[in-house]
Amino acid sequence: MNQHEAHGSEHPSFLAHHFATPRQQFEAGKLGMWLFLSTEILLFSGLFCAYAVYRANHPEIFVYAHHFLDSTLGAINTVVLICSSFTMAWAVRSAQLGQKKRLCVLLAFTILCGFGFMGIKFIEYRHKWHAGLLPGKHYNPQAHEGDHAPVSGHADEAEHQPTTTAARHPVESAAVEPEHQAATTPASTPASSTASEEHTLQVPPTIGPAGLAAPVTTTADVHAEESTDEKVKNVQIFFSIYFAMTGLHGLHVLAGMSVIGWVLWRSMRGEFGPLYYTPVDLAGLYWHLVDLIWIYLFPLLYLIH
């Protein structure tokens, strides 16, 4: 430190006063980010713990309920996130090499992937909203007919709006339904729109050979749904965990997109180069962690055997 202070004028503008060298500042930032990532891992560990406990003790709930998830969409989202991670890592490389234009393009593409991910998530949530596949008390597989779609695609909002507050307007939703189906679920046919399904819940088959997920058709009785769900009780627990996990993860995706947006803005101003690219690197670490968590969420929630 002593040496450096002798040449105070050489203190670059990006170097905070209490650091002696850019290297020290960079490594401090990196260590700080890794520590923060460890707290994120522990934050998610609570949900993984809840998942593990209920799955170990009641595997039948998970086997039954996961058929309601569309694993094609899950797989697409996995690919989207992996691509975004790749472009993010590439962006860090571009920053290191001082390729400003490429850096901006790659960051923008990464944010775009984030939007794609959230868009698909929105479609999935909306489908569950319509089908009444909601957490806890709101789990009501018959309620698919005519509930309002959530106003926004934000993970938490979809999760947080109790069904009771949504007014029923069959006419409006009828107009919405086919559109979202056609646009979003090419490979599967979620049971959500036809009137004949008023009391019949058809489990959407997952992708691939029919042998895997033979469509289970259950006749759900309004008064005693549990007895007809093939004796599978407490299915709502699965959806509580599903929404909690993907919801929290979705929030992290949004946070990551905002951070990358901020980094993108600074990149466009030309703040980063071979000497200083710490924010790009740290935002990248965060984004990769979000990807990492999804890598586990995908098989745990969508691919249950």
């Binding site: 890794w34 992996i82 890598i295 055997h305």
Partner: protein, 115 residues
């Protein structure tokens, strides 16, 4: 770490620059592994399916952490943080699962009396 020393004094303040080929390779590997994960559910291995999925996910996670997150060229301490926090996660989940599995009969017993 095992990284070639040449890379390091490339520039004191710049850190390691990962080659584009390596990044693309990791990316492709991740995509292939995703396909493998999805494909693996068509093979019926009973309980092993879960473990297989977890092993593949862990390989993917390692690829991301080691290459995309630069752990290979980073100070080892950052890797220790990651591993350390995972150990605490396992402790947490492990203890809780051990206990809930052991008291499960009390809950099921109640269920059978009051269905």
């Amino acid at each position: 770490m095992s990284s070639p020393a040449v890379e390091h004094h490339h520039s004191e303040d710049q850190g390691h620059v990962v080659s584009l080929g390596l990044l693309a390779g990791v990316w492709l590997a991740l995509l292939v592994l995703t396909v493998v994960t999805v494909g693996a559910i068509y093979v019926n291995l009973g309980k092993l399916n879960l473990w297989l999925a977890m092993i593949i996910a862990t390989i993917k996670a390692l690829l991301v952490a080691v290459y995309f997150m630069h752990l290979r060229w980073d100070r080892p301490f950052n890797a220790y943080i990651l591993v350390g926090s995972l150990i605490f996660v396992l402790l947490f989940i492990g203890f809780v699962m051990m206990d809930t599995a052991a008291y499960l009969p009390e809950i099921d017993f109640k269920d059978t009396l009051h269905p």
